[in-house]
Structure formats: C-alpha cells, structure tokens
Amino acid sequence: MSSPSKRERDEYRAEASAWFEENVPAQPDFMLPLTFMEVGTDDQFHFLCDWQNRVYEAGYLGAAWPKEYGGGGLDQAFQDIATEQMRRHGSPIMLNTIGLSWAGPLILDMGTHEQRERYIKGILSAEDIWCQGFSEPDHGSDLGNAQTRAVRDGDEWVINGTKIWTTHGNYAKYMILLARSIPDTPNKYAGLSFFLSPMRVPGIEAIPIRKLTGEYGFTETFFTDARIPGDSLIGEEGQGWAVAMRTLEYERSARGGQAGGLSIKVPDAEEVVDLARRARRSGRPAIEDPVVRDKLVELLIEDRGLGLCGARQRLAPLNQERPFSLGLSSKLMQTEFIRRLNEFAISMQGARAAYYVGDPDAIDDGTSQRSYLNAFSATIGGGTSQIQANIVAEHVLGLPKS
C-alpha cells in the first residue's frame, strides 16, 4: 500500500475534525476519568462505552485494522490523524484500551483466523471490554514467576490463583491471562501459557482497589476453580512467556499495530505553558519568573526531543548501531517525562498548589495534582521504570543481567 498523499490526508483530517467538532459529547454531570485506567463508576463506564462505539461506527477507531475483521482497512496515517483530532477536540478517552492497544493487536498478530473473527470487532465497538491478568500480588516486576495455575480437565482449563492491578476487572468480558500450565519446569518461563479467558464464569471474582487519587479503576481478581474453554489458548501451551513479551511490546508501544484512539488525557507541555500564563507566583504571572521560564524551556526541549525520537525511529541509517534503542526506551522516557511535567505544573501554582480536585479554588479543578498522582500508573504499570531501565541496559547497551 503506498502511503497516502498530502491531499488525501488533508481531506481526511478535515472530515475527522468536522465529525469530532460535531459529536464530542458535552461534559456530563459526573467527573470523567483522565485515563482508561480510572473508570470507577457505572455512569462513567456506560458513557465511555457509548462514546467509543460512536467513534468506531464513524470509522475513526481501528481505521487501519483489516476490513475482514471489522477494521477500516486504511493506511495507519489515517488512524493517526483521527487520534490527533480526538485530542484536539477534547474527546473523552477510549475506554477499551487494553483491547484496542494490546489484546487486539496481539490477536491480529498471533491469533488464529477464528480468534480474530470472534474478538476483533467487539474490541472496536466496545461490546467486549478486555482486561489483562499478568501481575500477581507476589509477582509484579518478576512476571515470569507468575503462579496462577491452569490445569487441563477434559475440554476445559481450570484456573486457580490471584491477579492484581486488573484494569476494568469488574467490567471486562475477556481477559488476556498469563498462567502456569506446566508446574516445576527447570526454567520458570517454560511453564507459562497464555489464554484469552472469559471473565463471566463462576469462580472469578473481581474486587475493586482504590487508588492513590481516591478513584477506582482496577481490581484484585480471584480465580477459584474457574473453568474456561479448552480452546482459550493463544500460542502453544508452554509458550506463554513469548506471547506475554509480545503483548508488552504492544503495551509499551515498542511495536505498532494498535487500533489507535486517545487512551489518556494528560496536560501536554503546551498546556503547561498556558497554565504558566494563568497561574500566579509572588503576585505576578508565573511565566514572568525567569526560573519558571528556564524550566519551561527545558521541558519544551525534552518534549520535542521525545517526539523527534519517535520520528527518528523511521530513519534507519540513524538507528543502525543500536536498532532497538528508541523502541525499547520510549515508555521509560515518555512516562517519566509526563510525571515530571505534571509535578512542575503543580509547582507553578504558588499557594494554590495545595488545593485538590473538588475545591472551587483549585486551578483547572486540580487537574495537575490529579494528573501527577495518576502519572505513576504509567511509570509503574506495564513494567516499572526500573524494569524498563534494566531492559534498555541489557537489551540495548548489552550490560550483564542484574
């Protein structure tokens, strides 16, 4: 497929812009989550399912996924344009991000034709919400040591164990589940298998966990003799670790193929500059303070640098020596930057930095405070920054294992 011309892209952009302009819903009378990870009430859930479905029906989600499974069959450039228009028009986030950005691309990549037919369209339409069962209470960063058991029994697998930090655990219809089907393998990774597991079967219980912001959005998920169909495997039995690693590449954006769509709304660097014009320190606009100005410029340089690193990935001669460097480090760089950006946004607010969401005097209703605290979900989830640094050290620089 040849890449679309500038004219084609401009036309598509104009159409998408007009559609979002017209259709982005008004703010409801309840607070919407900043990211797909903070969906904590039924009101939020139904509102966001409905919105995702409308975006999909309009063609602005999964635009680059194959037509035969429910996608739009277009070039990726078009989906990128649509996602950018969502952001520009203040669209609420796409609820089903785990389906759209990691389970979906994984199924398209490694699933069978039947699995793609069964799952892809529901992911896009938000009929089927997905969650992820990787971390366990005792095995977070050490994912390869997961102990949830899967035992074959006739036509079914019987699952026992506990997963944690399950985003949408209480709403999901399906889970991508990493479990141990072969006990006592000499190599801990060899005993793992990967399942596309239904969630609405007896023996699965999801208990919401409250987050540091006070919001909900994920659960601790208990499996007690939960029976799932025998054909739930994706990949071969015992190859779950490789499938999980592939999934994490999608999750960390080290590999493309996601359905697109806005999954988080965090203040970007330009919005922080705008905040600096409105916030006041020592009786004058923060942006007049030379120290604030210097720091803002520093953040804008870093912000642009991160974008340029993404663009540089496509220029092969500039990535020859360490070809995986930019891909494997983007999660680490991006998420740590966003955390620091939000922290700085709070620091510009003078005494009003002490307010939080809900107070009438909080600047922008405490968005910076809430975003800063929420930013840890990205520096911890999907492999902590410290694990990411190990990955870059070992797989990019070639340093020995810790």
């Binding site: 804008l300 340089i301 001669p317 870059v392 340093l399």
Partner: protein, 374 residues
C-alpha cells in the same frame, strides 16, 4: 506550527556521509592517535586533514561555483558527529565555520579567492570571542579604523581555535560604529601577537590574538551590510556542528563506559550488573539519544529561519548537558582508574566542557529560546 513538534529527515547524502565518515574517523583517529596528538605541538595530523579535503568534506556546504559540493550544513553534521565520536583533532570545524562566514558576508572577490582555497584544504579560523567572555557575537571591543596603513586594527581576540595553522582568519571588529568582519590573510596573522592558550580540552589548539598594530587593506572588510546576519548564522552554524560533535562524543563515551562495565569485575560480578551503575548509564544513553534526535532535526530545519533557530538552540541546549552527564558518570564509574590521566573518561569530560562553552552554553540558548517560544 506548534512549538511542541519539530521535523526530522535524512538526506541520501547525509546517510552516505554518515557511513563513510564513520569508517574514516574510526580508522584515522584511534584513541592512541588521539593521545599522541595531545602531546604534539601542532595537535593534528596534516595528512589526515588533507585527505578530508580530498574527500570533498571541506566543500560540502560550499556552492559549486566556489568548487564545493553545493549541499548544506545538514550534510556536514554526520561528518562532525563522527569526528566527535572518535575525538578527532584538526581544523575541520574552524575551517568550515570560517568558510560559512565568508560565504554569508564576503564580497564576490573574497568568496572567489578564499572559498576555493578552503575547499582545497587550506585551514582557516574564526576569531569572535574577546576577554569579556560574552557569547553575544555583537558584543565587540576590537576596533578597525581607517588610517595611513589601511584598516588599522586594535584589541584582543581570545579562544581562537586553530589560529596556529590558519592561513585565513575571519575576525569580528567594530568599524565606523557597526559590527564588521575582517579577513586576515597569512601576513596579517603573522603580524598578530599570538599566544597559545592552555585549554581544558587538550585535543584543541587555541590561541589569543593581539590585533594592536596590525593593519589590513580596505578590501579585507567583508560586506558590512551582511555582517549582522553572518554573525547570527555563524553562532547557529557553530551551535549545530558543536552539538553534532557532542552527540558523537556522547556515543563514544557511552560505548567505552559500557565496555568497562562489562569487563571490570568486583565482588565476583561484572560491575555493569549492578543497577546503581547500569541505570545512570541508561539515563546517559537516553540523554544522548534525545540530543541526537534534536541534532538531526536541527540539521534538517537549519535553513528554515526562525524554525531553524529554535531547532538549533534546542539541540545545543540539550546536547551540552547530555554529554556532560555521560562523561561525568563515566569518570565516576571507572572508580580509582577514572581519576587518572590514563583513563579516557577525562577526555570526554574535558571535551564536554569545551564544546559547552563554544557559541553559548545551555543556559544561554535556553534564554534565547524563552524569548522565541514562550
């Protein structure tokens, strides 16, 4: 266009030069050669410089009319980057920048005379800095006045890189109340009072130039109306190429540090297996990766007016601290050996100090950026 987004691209010529320069600089500038040239009075190997001229690298960004290749500074970036990576010495950068100044503000006669010489490998230098140590290129104390012997010069230039070998030097002066650039030929250079300076980066050769009593012919003045633009362009060109050199240095520094972290064992393990060392090494690597993205974006946009200026200043503001951090940690992670003259980590740290203070440090460029983008 949003201040958040830059654009990056890579020309075929850039890619080809990256490949050939990478090999050339590795072959010609081994760490042993770098060390040997530090102790050499001249400080570089003239045969290598001649080869670079033969390869056409001194004429990359010079129009074909003056026997150059007619490309842009963007294509010089990969060459300088690879020189930086191998700590390569020589008057390549000085000659390239002096040529850009002549190209920008020289009269037709000056361009026709000087540029083909520089393309062919005659070293040249830029003399902009003065004892006041202000990076603003328009803050000039040296004077040029019309007198009996032609244009009579006075004042002192400092930190003139490669003035020891330069056959042409472009110096900034004030003439009739305005900033001016004057072209010193070999005779005028000989007439200057020259003192070799002791500088932090020992791979460099830097000189103080006393202009008192030196005079030049009237036709040595560059076109005064073009001088303000030339001074600005020189600062940006120097910043772009300096950033490229720092990025290369950063890659070289990280490669050598990583090799040591793998090789060196303590408590029965390679020290690179300790997260206290590996995580900051990753930070250093990613700092350089971002700097490299900025540099290639700055190269790509260099000729785009204000956008180019923003991109270049961002590159310089990022690359300096990035190399400084990488080299600072390199010294620390070498332990006791890192404290010795023999350890190469100091070469990179000294290089970082030198480059950071050419054409404005990070704070200087951030201050300029604040007015440009906030």
């Amino acid at each position: 266009m949003s201040v958040r987004h830059g654009t990056i691209g890579l020309s075929e010529e850039q890619a080809a030069l990256l490949e050939s320069a990478s090999k050339f600089c590795r072959d010609k500038s081994s760490i042993e050669a770098v060390r040997r040239l530090i102790d050499d009075e001249l400080g570089h190997d003239p045969a290598v410089f001649e080869e670079m001229a033969e390869l056409g690298w001194l004429g990359i960004a010079i129009p074909e009319a003056y026997r150059g290749a007619g490309l842009e500074l963007a294509e010089v970036v990969p060459v300088v980057e690879q020189m930086g990576r191998n700590l390569m010495a020589g008057p390549f950068l000085s000659t390239t920048l002096a040529a850009q100044a002549v190209l920008c503000a020289g009269t037709e006669a000056q361009k026709s005379q000087v540029l083909p010489e520089l393309v062919a490998g005659t070293p040249a230098a830029l003399a902009l800095m003065e004892p006041h140590a202000d990076w603003d290129p328009k803050n000039i104390g040296c004077q040029a006045v019309r007198g009996e012997k032609g244009i009579e010069l006075s004042g002192t230039k400092v930190l003139v890189t490669d003035a020891g070998v330069a056959k042409w030097i472009v110096a900034s002066v004030v003439y009739e109340g305005s900033p001016a650039l004057v072209l010193l030929d070999a005779e005028a250079i000989t007439a200057c009072k020259r003192r070799r300076e002791t500088v932090v980066d020992e791979t460099r050769r830097s000189f103080q130039l006393g202009l008192d009593g030196v005079s030049v012919a009237e036709d040595a003045l560059l076109d005064v109306s073009l001088v303000p633009a030339a001074l600005e362009r020189t600062e940006l060109a120097g910043s772009l190429l300096g950033s490229a050199e720092m990025c290369g240095g950063g890659v070289g520094c990280i490669d050598s540090t990583v090799a040591y972290l793998i090789d060196r064992k303590q408590f029965g393990r390679p020290i690179g297996s300790y997260q206290a060392l590996k995580h900051p090494t990753v930070d250093a690597h990613l700092g350089i990766e971002q700097a490299r993205s900025h540099v290639y974006a700055a190269a790509h946009t260099f000729e785009n007016g204000r956008e180019g200026e923003i991109a270049v200043r961002m590159a310089k503001a990022h690359a300096g601290p990035a190399l400084a951090f990488a080299a600072d940690r390199a010294i620390q992670f070498h332990g006791g050996f890192g404290f010795t003259y023999e350890c190469d980590a100091q070469l990179y740290r000294r290089r970082a100090l030198w480059c950071e203070n050419q054409h404005g440090d990070a704070l200087y460029h951030r201050q300029k950026l604040a007015s440009l983008i906030l």
